[in-house]
Symmetry: C2
Subunit: 580 residues, 2 copies
Amino acid sequence: MGNDNKSLIRRIKAAAKQMPADLVVKNVRIVNVFTGELMDGDVAIADGIIVGIGSYEGKETIDAGGRYMAPGLIDGHVHIESSMLVPREFAKVLLQHGVTAVVTDPHEIANVAGTEGLDYMLKSAEELPLDIFVNLPSCVPVTSFENSGARLEAEHLLPYYSHPNVLGLAEVMDYPSVFHAEAPMVNKLADAQNFHIDGHAAGVEREGLNVYMAAGIRTDHECVNEQEAKDRLDLGMYLMIREGTVAKNLDALLPVVTPKNAKRCLFVTDDKLLDDLIEEGSVDHIVRRAVEKGLDPITAIQMATINTAECFGLKNRGALAPGYAADFVLLDDLESFAIHEVYKKGVCIVKQGVLQERYFSNEGEAADVLPTSLTKINVKDAALTSFALPLSNDQCRMIEIIPNQLVTNGIIEEVTVKEGEFCPSTDKDQLKLAVVERHHATGNVGLGIVKGLKLKKGAIATTVSHDSHNIVIAGTSDEDMRIALQHLVQHQGGMVVVSGQKVLAALPLPIAGLMSDRSYGEVYDNLKSLDAALAQIGAPAHFDPFLTLSFLTLPVIPHLKLTDAGLFAFDSFSHISVQA
Amino acid sequence: MGNDNKSLIRRIKAAAKQMPADLVVKNVRIVNVFTGELMDGDVAIADGIIVGIGSYEGKETIDAGGRYMAPGLIDGHVHIESSMLVPREFAKVLLQHGVTAVVTDPHEIANVAGTEGLDYMLKSAEELPLDIFVNLPSCVPVTSFENSGARLEAEHLLPYYSHPNVLGLAEVMDYPSVFHAEAPMVNKLADAQNFHIDGHAAGVEREGLNVYMAAGIRTDHECVNEQEAKDRLDLGMYLMIREGTVAKNLDALLPVVTPKNAKRCLFVTDDKLLDDLIEEGSVDHIVRRAVEKGLDPITAIQMATINTAECFGLKNRGALAPGYAADFVLLDDLESFAIHEVYKKGVCIVKQGVLQERYFSNEGEAADVLPTSLTKINVKDAALTSFALPLSNDQCRMIEIIPNQLVTNGIIEEVTVKEGEFCPSTDKDQLKLAVVERHHATGNVGLGIVKGLKLKKGAIATTVSHDSHNIVIAGTSDEDMRIALQHLVQHQGGMVVVSGQKVLAALPLPIAGLMSDRSYGEVYDNLKSLDAALAQIGAPAHFDPFLTLSFLTLPVIPHLKLTDAGLFAFDSFSHISVQA
């Protein structure tokens, strides 16, 4: 209380010009997201908060050279784990793209490590010059058709609502459990009624949205066409327009945005890989693309700032006004959203394009200080794992990849059978696929066949596989698959390319098998070496084999998938045999 | 928790059509405040909450005959005490005008009775079919130049923030105490930082607004011209456009509202007398007038519903969508806002124009069950009160009324002096004015002279006098003034007209001397009998003598006022003698 009062007094005195502001930005054109117009004035900052707009003097003064000042961008829905970076490194990347706050759902790490995963993310987010607001994962595990590392029920989530960075319940994706008012889901929803609740309403039709809204679920980031978007806006949902690495919905949804409804629309990335984040950006990229497609630049900025803040009830974020956090970007140009500098709480984090590394502590991130649940790949006797897939005839169900889509086809083809077992064929592009349970050493191995991956030799494997994050391995030989598995177990998870019983390249992901403990630059370089190794074993370049692999395990997406418990048919929502 | 779950399950099941809704409204055109457009669909309601919009069947069905359905209106800033009604009767009046929620500042009753006044208002608001949200009075007393009934410091307010109907801190009107960061004010502001804080920034110029905003104060309802309104919007304040009994700002401010900034604007009444509420309405009247003046009807409705809800962070109010309270009005016509029926939580409170009295409990309102602080007029020896105003010469300062304004002039005129004392003169229109302290029996009597009230005989007196609510009496003779005083003390407060030492008419206000314990109809009739009595003693009809009287005591308004401690000059902000 005492400190709160002192800070409040300093803000008042600086606003009243009874003491100089800490920082004053002069010669700047302010993007006023409240009025939708540009505004002139010095911007005075004290204690990291904007305290005045007008005529001010400060201890430090910046001449912005007539540049535009926009509020720091907010990503309304992002899974940090998809960047494979720890929050600190993720923050470094996003800040360079003008993003000063994110709302994240630590769904992936929670599936691996439960509340210890949540604790890790909340702890790692502290003291960073990026606001990381958290929604609590609502669906861990996603289904009962696989073994994940954890189970989070209402009683596990409840204590987290009092955490200052927790906003509510994250994307409710299990529509049937809401529709049928199943007790575990109702308990989670009931606890969250006075907080924010995000939705994930893929394919839910207009009347079905009533069920979500009646349950207090107020957003959707899964709509893919104009009609779906219009239905969500009509029924009072915030429309999250997503543009990530795989799911790109901006082109389809932007035509729905009008001056009347724009305030109910916001931008999110959901899942974006590191190379895309570095090469094209985060929410700044969506703003840029939306403006290219004809959206008014200030409206686009509103959709990346104040609208997001209002959606989540963030009182002091997303706008440039006294009392709001001094989080802002200086832009050379409004149309191109060309970022000159980025400020967080009044501190210049990106100075003339250069990230100021000194504002990022490296403490507490080393894998060796983390609890076992976050660092151990718990596989039963990896060296002895059998990948043998016995068959009684040569007609088999297999997963056919559709490049750059999460949806797969389930097809039946003739395969090569040797000594009563499936034999991978690079000619027929029929590779072996395995999902090895890695959380509880159950020894579970799900086996199947994948078509379309087009590897010519070797094997690839990853501990990133949605949403249970067991180890998924695709290969042309059992030997290379076993070496890939052993490598990942030894190195606490990651991604690996094997050929001729040798590891060609690997990206260690020792934190929950999902995130690297290295710098974003190292991880980026590492990804490039993985790409080179993939090329060596014949992987095609027009889609990402690891990303593809990581979604072959997600049973809530059509049509055929593989879990550690075996092949899974979405259409019948049950397991099914490989043998047709 | 159990009940919450049950209600949530019922809402989900009704939304999912697994059970019939409680009520379905069909054949209706929905005013969608999210999209700014009209929308068709059945509106299904369960447990008082909208659960679906689409095609629904219910236990009860209403054919709305093609009428418009708008969300129930919300008054964003109103002092209930100004209606002189208890919350129950106030609710009855407002509901007939389509208002289903108000944000109130119990500033008047708190000045009389402190936390007991707050408790009374919060308690009285329970179980009513009107949401009464409360902001905690920030300035009790308003100044140290008078004696009010109570003093509310931060520590008195703090426990109230946990009350479910308390939203934050009410209109901060003491600009100097904020500007100078005085400890009592800073303490109140610091406690409210995570809640809503309303402002009252009369005459504060653009740069001064920075001080309010930096302190977390986010609204103003006191601006009177376009420039002031624009300044407030520019700096991120919500613009409350006020249209009450005395202060009418709609005409001046409406030109500022544009499609881009309308979402930051809302309508409030602040202070509105009962006859005006009954005869022209509440926020509905502002909507109607705004539309007459050319505002788009849906924008006007947004400014009376969702904008207000968003301003105060009311998650489930102000819109027609699943998950929102089923508070709505059926309108014959959108342009004229002609109200057909009014529903609160899905219950028809005003049915074809007729208020359904059975939804209003009469329990706990009788003055005799209230604490003494709320019912006793604590005056020292009323019968012995001396109104003698000794003078040494005939040049006196006097308060000159400007009809229908809160501002007065301070003038000097020659008066009649008899036996060394001021002698009122109806010829010169110089009447005696007295303010009798009534909270602590101090015996304080402030005496002065008022010009412009134009009474030809007798005296009038009231216990409603802003903001300390001492007894203010104006009269042509000491005898009639004393009788007026004695009547008010005997009857626990109210308003009275006396002539020839007889009470011609009176309105008892036994609750804190501010509110009647009678029905709104009785109070309305009573006001009319007061008007008749006023006419009998020669009061002019073009302004309200009681309302005028009740503001002659408010020292924070220019130029000359009277408190129980004597004549007060706003310009020097100090007491001053009557003798010039």
